[in-house]
Symmetry: D2
Subunit: 201 residues, 4 copies
């Protein structure tokens, strides 16, 4: 069975509003597809992921569906806009819900999310991509995801400017190259971990 990827878009806007983050995620999934990875996109704002740090916060909570898809995929692509230099509140919400995985183990005592690869896609108007990537890397890695070489792709504009990624006349070449490299690395690492899982203690 081929590798699969789940791309989670943490924009604050519900569908069908256009989203720069959505554009970048679709580019990541297109690159992953070239390496035989089948992808799916979910937009957090279209669902009701309740506040909390358990795997199921009860009635009306859409997280259990997300959780199932995260665990079913080999690759998690976490995409977020930058607000005030930080990941969006919906992105932090996803991390908080992933936090429950800290206490879950598989039959061999291994962390539940281990053997999965995570990467990051970040868009903002003008600054903050490295800080957002740093915080997502650490949060995702804490709960068991591995980060491939160059596990983030991003775009931001010049300081204090206002154009969006989705409104650029074309994707800057270096951004496209980084997206392609990240996808190549993700597919490679996920393939290795599929065949040779992390050992139990």
């Amino acid at each position: 069975m081929g590798l699969t990827a789940l791309a989670i878009n943490c924009t604050l806007k519900r569908s069908p509003a256009e989203s720069s983050c959505d554009l970048l995620l679709s580019q990541v999934l297109a690159e992953l597809h070239k390496h035989g990875v089948a992808g799916e996109r979910l937009r957090v704002a279209d669902y009701d992921i309740k506040p909390g740090v358990t795997s199921d916060e009860g009635e009306g909570d859409d997280w259990p569906m997300f959780r199932q898809k995260v665990l079913a995929a080999d690759i998690l692509v976490l995409g977020t806009p930058i607000w005030l230099g930080h990941p969006s509140s919906l992105c932090q919400r996803v991390l908080e819900r992933l936090d429950a995985m800290l206490g879950e183990t598989d039959g061999q005592g291994r962390m539940i999310a281990v053997d999965r690869v995570a990467c990051v896609a970040v868009v903002g108007n003008e600054d903050g991509a490295h800080n957002v990537a740093a915080n997502l890397f650490q949060g995702l890695n804490d709960v068991g995801f591995s980060i491939p070489a160059v596990g983030s792709t991003y775009w931001v504009g010049e300081a204090m400017q206002g154009t969006d990624y989705k409104d650029l006349p074309q994707t800057p070449e270096k951004v496209a190259q980084t997206t392609a490299m990240m996808a190549r690395h993700c597919a490679h690492l996920a393939g290795l971990l599929r065949q040779a899982r992390y050992p139990a203690e």
Copy 2:
């Protein structure tokens, strides 16, 4: 008229659940009270602050009420638990809604939130307080708040342990001293800015 403070608790739990952050905020308000500052506490989880970056996200959005109280107070005390080393999703939600203030000015062309003081109260089990304070300082300062000397108080336990601040037999002395100093500095700075507002251009 005396100085006033608004304390916003960004715990993920609704009232009447106990909250370590609530305890720390009540201690901050008690110290502020000694300097003549009247305080009020709001718990974000008890309200519906909608995702978005405008001042009013429409039907059912409780942010306009928060916004009014933020602007009416001299001091904003932003309190948050730490999840995965970061401010809670509800705390980032508050920052995203404050973001709208970047584009609002008063009659003199000054930023709408200027002349107000902000401080930070952070609690977690084991790590992350400085990073959370750093991110909140920057977010709050970007939208116009001033930060007094030692504008944060916090508690975290030893690495990888699980006791909560609210379950400690007593508040550690150094934490209590820091809370008192922070409150003293907030009251002083808010008093100065009440009497001598930042000049317009």
Copy 3:
């Protein structure tokens, strides 16, 4: 006696190499000058600030001279380039040496650096200014500095591009406005704290 400012440039390059950070700091000092503040610039790379966390690391350590100037000034302007999204190693060195002030008090038991204002100037090619400001705000605030409304000014270019601030045909208008506002706020707050110092316990 008029207000004074000390601007510390944490570029990795020694004089007389050109420095984007130097340009931004000179603009900050020019704006401060309009408000009657006399300024001085120091470039860390031209001196030998030794590793350590005491106020004097002995033979050949230039920090005692910096420390004296920091304490003599009303305003500290900490300027740094961005490397890998972080403050420069020389900037972190300055923070480490300021750390010793955590244990020093004046005759009234107040923190030694209290009553002083700090602001931040950050330049990089393409990303990281908010994160750097966040970390500097927190470090400087921890040791006793107050942060005025909008206490940072910065420039970065579009993601993954390579032009330097010093090579721009002209300073972007919004950057110049931010620099001017920050200086105005610094001068105002430093003036207030000169006249009404933070109270002792």
Copy 4:
């Protein structure tokens, strides 16, 4: 040929001063040894790594020796104390020198550091480990290192306390378990990447 690891200690103190970071790094290397990984430790403070962002800053620069050892090892263990919540200035210095690798490629056009695994060991008195790990993950990943599941181990004490890791009566069990798990994951991932290198474009 067996796997090898290089552990870089970024304490501010020269040998033979005791270092908590050194203790944690020796524990990491001992765990790696159980998986057949031969390790070596270097303490930055004992050498002269000059400021700059090239691979060789000339006369007296010890970085070229470090660089050679980094590229010769399968695993880089970057260890740092926490100062003011941040990685030490010597740790940021190491990242700045690694930055030169952004522009270097091997014969196939791949990044020079790719196929290598990095992990992080962080010690402090009371807070900051997650933020330090986040920043090191991002910096190391940007230049091409892969991060295994749970790629950080750390110890900090309770908020505002002063005992050092090296002075604890014994290593806390959870810290020891995390160190062991991190080492197990590093050895596994480095073994996979030794046998199946990241593909070129």
